[in-house]
């Protein structure tokens, strides 16, 4: 079954536009729980309460405040916040193109597919142009009262718009101090590199399954049938005491495995 578009917009490069539909690129598979009252196993109600008076404050009387110093709030009125909202628009403005490898994965937020909305020729021409130039567009748009920045890229035959985090939301490694210590042993560095090399492979996401989610769901199903499954606790590990020995043992074990596989 085809997905429904969550938004419609127009990609804009100067005066050239490409109409698109926007679709979520992901599916939420999180196991969602509700808060229950233990005694009755029924749902609970939530209220916002003034701790000074222990009285509930109804929604239309709640104010919003920004804590500028501990204990000091600047109140922002609803009409003030309203005025700061971006103007609604259908434009996805592409201002700049940069080589894809310059966009750090730390910026990536939610991914969206873009599909053609009418003009398919222009849509697929833009896909081919992005792919041949090996570049990504930096996009800005307003969706549901929120300003977004994103990366427009060719993903296979289609356009993808990956929402990016804003500059001051992300802490970059270049702004942090690297852990320091005595110089590393050259032999150990070589062995660590060799070990990384032996474990090298392709990225195949289907090799990894969310086993925990499956186990939680199985457990819930058994409990729903009135069964009580037995559980065991797992323990955590300590650090390796001799790096040298652990590295050489690992390399030997992996080499042996590879030889066996080749034989």
């Amino acid at each position: 079954m085809a997905a429904r578009a969550i938004w419609k917009g127009k990609l804009k490069l100067g005066s050239t536009t490409v109409p698109v539909n926007l679709y979520s690129g992901v599916i939420d598979k999180t196991v969602h729980f509700h808060i229950l009252e233990e005694r009755t196993e029924s749902r609970v109600k939530q209220h916002m309460v003034n701790p000074a008076t222990n009285e509930e404050v109804p929604n239309d009387e709640i104010q919003k405040g920004y804590e500028i110093e501990p204990g000091t709030f600047v109140i922002l009125k609803a009409e003030e916040l309203e005025k700061l909202q971006p103007k609604p628009s259908r434009d996805i403005e592409i201002t700049r193109f940069v080589p894809g490898e310059h966009i750090s994965s730390l910026w990536y937020d939610r991914p969206y597919y873009l599909g053609p909305d009418g003009d398919q020729e222009a849509y697929f021409a833009l896909v081919d142009a992005l792919a041949s130039k090996e570049t990504e567009g930096i996009a800005r748009w307003v969706m549901r009262g929120k300003e977004y920045v994103g990366a427009l890229r060719a993903q296979g035959d289609y356009l993808m718009l990956v929402a990016l985090r804003h500059a001051d939301e992300v802490i970059l490694a270049e702004d942090l101090p690297a852990p320091a210590g005595r110089a590393l042993d050259k032999k150990e560095i070589d062995m660590a590199r060799q070990l990384v090399g032996l474990l090298e492979g392709e990225f195949d996401p289907t090799d990894f399954k969310d086993e925990y989610r499956e186990r939680v769901m199985e457990f819930i199903e058994m409990k729903a049938k009135g069964k009580k499954p037995r559980l065991q606790l797992v323990k955590s590990k300590a650090g390796t005491s001799s790096l040298d020995a652990a590295l050489s043992k690992s390399i030997a074990a992996l080499k042996k495995k590879k030889e066996k596989a080749a034989a």
Binding site: V26, E38, P51, G65, K77, Y113, G115, P116, A151, H166
Partner: protein, 256 residues
């Protein structure tokens, strides 16, 4: 601030204990709810049946398996359901650091050296950074399993959670139309538009958050004019806008 998670990275037979902290700052303009006279409000829970207020130990977590019917699941049970070795991030495979499409990336975390693991930490970071590889593994945090890519940059390890394959939609799932080959002339026109707007690097200026800046500007302006300011004795329940994760990270990277 305590680490979000503490555990062990293993590769081969080598284990490196690490602490995990967020690589993102929380929303700069998270606003608190206040009473009409400016007291910060607390969220409280009440029984739907008796209307009485409930304390934390009177509430449990329930999964709705049929309409209105719940299975109660305790923290202890979730803990015990964690797969074997879940406190380890076992790097079973190393891949090229450009090999993972952006659609998989969810969130970033920095890893800092755990107890007496500083040497193993630096060794792993160096080997990965030199070879341009990411290590792939899984681990469990706060009742959820995560697929992660571990990378090293500037001698610092970080974990980026990835979506599992079944959390990703394909173009076919979305129902995108089959590609039709566009006319060469139109492709060329787009290539020219791209070239005219190309830059070598991404400037963080492009990622500025104007919306948040506008809110903060208003906050500062009202604060300096002394307009709509309230003071409270009430202890804020969270760290609000006050703790900077950057300071926390700098401290825990330097402590080794």
């Amino acid at each position: 601030m305590r680490p979000l998670w503490s555990g062990t990275i293993t590769f081969g037979l080598v284990s490196v204990p690490v602490d995990m902290y967020p690589a993102n700052r929380s929303d700069r303009t998270s606003l608190r709810m206040l009473s009409p006279d400016g007291v910060p409000l607390n969220r409280r829970y009440y029984s739907e049946q008796s209307g009485r207020e409930l304390e934390d130990d009177q509430m449990v977590r329930g999964y709705e398996f049929e309409d209105g019917k719940y299975v109660v699941v305790t923290d202890e049970e979730l803990e015990k359901l964690a797969p074997d070795r879940s406190r380890d991030i076992d790097l079973r495979r190393f891949v090229d650091d450009q090999a993972i499409p952006p659609i998989y990336f969810e969130r970033g975390y920095y890893l800092t050296p755990g107890s007496s693991s500083e040497k193993g930490y630096r060794l792993l970071a160096k080997a990965m950074e030199d070879s341009g590889r990411m290590g792939i593994g899984t681990f469990v945090m706060h009742g959820k399993e995560y697929l992660v890519a571990i990378t090293a940059e500037n001698g610092i390890l970080r974990a980026q959670t990835l979506r599992f394959a079944d959390e990703i939609r394909s173009p076919a799932d979305v129902g995108l139309p089959k590609k039709k080959k566009p006319q060469k002339a139109i492709v060329t026109k787009f290539e020219k538009l791209i070239t005219a707007r190309s830059a070598k690097q991404l400037s963080t200026q492009e990622l500025k958050d104007d919306q948040t800046d506008r809110v903060l500007k208003l906050v500062k302006s009202k604060h300096s004019r002394g307009k709509d300011i309230v003071q409270t004795e009430e202890q804020s329940s969270d760290d609000g806008n006050v703790v900077d994760i950057m300071d926390v990270l700098k401290k825990s990277l330097a402590k080794s």
